[in-house]
Amino acid sequence: MVNTVSVTDKTIQVKVFPARLLQPETAEKLLNEIDKVKGVLRMLIGGKNLPRKVTCGPGTGTDVNHPDKRVIQVGDQAFELHVMVGHVIVEVEDESVLEPLKQSCERGLPFAFEFKRGFFIKKKATLTDYGKYGFRSKTDERINLDDERMLGMIDPHAKAEGRFCIIGVDNAA
């Protein structure tokens, strides 16, 4: 039988939506608190774009040098924030992880936040993903990715460098 389903696990997704846009220090603290929770599979950071250069108007091309466009350390990975963090989508293994996850957000955020359960990151490959990555082989129609958890983490048209990182590889090995 030809297998076309990418992810079959019944995972749960939650959107953490703070009352304020986060400074890099708070975002770093929140992400590290979430990272410490056992059972967290994926995190997706969203927020307001911090461009490198002015993109429109008479000042087009001028460097912005936004002070919040900083490198932060989450777990064993350091990466540059491209956004002012407005929300974090977290995917966890099962229901038992939700309460520890909420407690980690309470520790990481100094103000109120919404904790919404829903479907935010796709679990199955779409036509665009197949167009980018292709099939594994002529007989195996699963998507040609080593780790299918990458699906939905970045725009299929974007490059992964600088937008995607794997945390805790050494610990997992």
Binding site: L21, L50, V54, G57, P58, V64, H66, G86
Partner: protein, 251 residues
């Protein structure tokens, strides 16, 4: 009895603030020097002459025209200044001005104004020296809280966003930011760095902003809490609808 304009109905603090903005009866909260203002507007170098687009009207020999005789030109028009613009964005989290009220303030109290009102920003085009006078008035008074408002010629994103952690409105181009207890602007309105740090004063506290705002908000002063305003708005909408449908019934 002298005529007293009735600008806006209502008895809530928001309605009173709206009347204050429209009548220009606003409190001055800070001083911004002419040079600093010119620098953040970014249309000409501070201290330089005003570039002109035509000779002064007095030298042009205008045609005989009764309207021209009645209407005194503004200083900018008389000198032949260029048309320039200033654009403000105001946060919906209790910024003192809404885009419409910036337009009302400009159009009622200044001459030679071309206001453009959008959902989250307000742009005003005027002759250059007239524009500076108008912008100074809005920038120095309670119409503007520089924590919740911004002078943004482009990339205005911020009006409908959550505030930053320090209580200021998001600015993608980092034109102005909170340094210590004051708002500092070191770029002009289109994001080009300027040669100075302009001190725009302290931002309002949350309570102060809630008191001075012209935004109706359910978590501050709800629009529906002011019966007189509701009645006025419904009357205006009903009459304009009826008039559009059947003009003779709209009186």
């Amino acid at each position: 009895m002298t005529y007293k304009p009735q600008y806006y109905p209502g008895n809530t603090s928001v309605a009173k603030n709206r009347r204050k903005h429209m009548s220009d009866d606003v409190e001055k909260l800070r001083d911004i020097s002419d040079e600093d203002l010119t620098a953040i507007l970014g249309h000409r170098a501070p201290g330089s002459d005003y570039p002109s687009t035509h000779p002064p009207l007095a030298e042009m020999g205008e045609p005989a025209c009764s309207v021209r005789e009645v209407v005194t030109p503004t200083p900018g028009a008389a000198a032949g200044d260029r048309i320039r613009y200033a654009q403000f964005a105001d946060s919906m989290y209790n910024a003192p001005a809404t885009p419409y009220w910036r337009s009302y303030h400009a159009a009622i109290n200044f001459r030679g104004v071309d206001p453009g009102t959008l959902s989250g920003r307000q742009v005003n085009e005027m002759r250059e020296r007239d524009l500076e006078e108008y912008t100074k008035r809005q920038a120095e008074t309670e119409i503007t809280d520089w924590g919740l408002s911004g002078l943004r010629g482009c990339t205005v994103h911020g009006h409908s966003l959550r505030l930053e952690e320090n209580g200021t409105m998001f600015d993608m181009l980092d034109r102005r930011r909170l340094e210590g207890s004051s708002i500092i602007m070191d770029k002009d309105q289109v994001g080009v760095p300027i040669d100075r740090k302009v001190n725009l004063g302290k931002p309002m506290s949350e309570a102060e902003a809630a008191k001075r705002t012209t935004f109706y908000r359910i978590d501050n002063v709800a629009f529906r809490s002011d019966k007189e305003v509701i009645e006025h708005v419904q009357t205006v909408w009903e009459r304009r609808t009826r008039y559009g449908f059947k003009p003779e019934s709209g009186r």
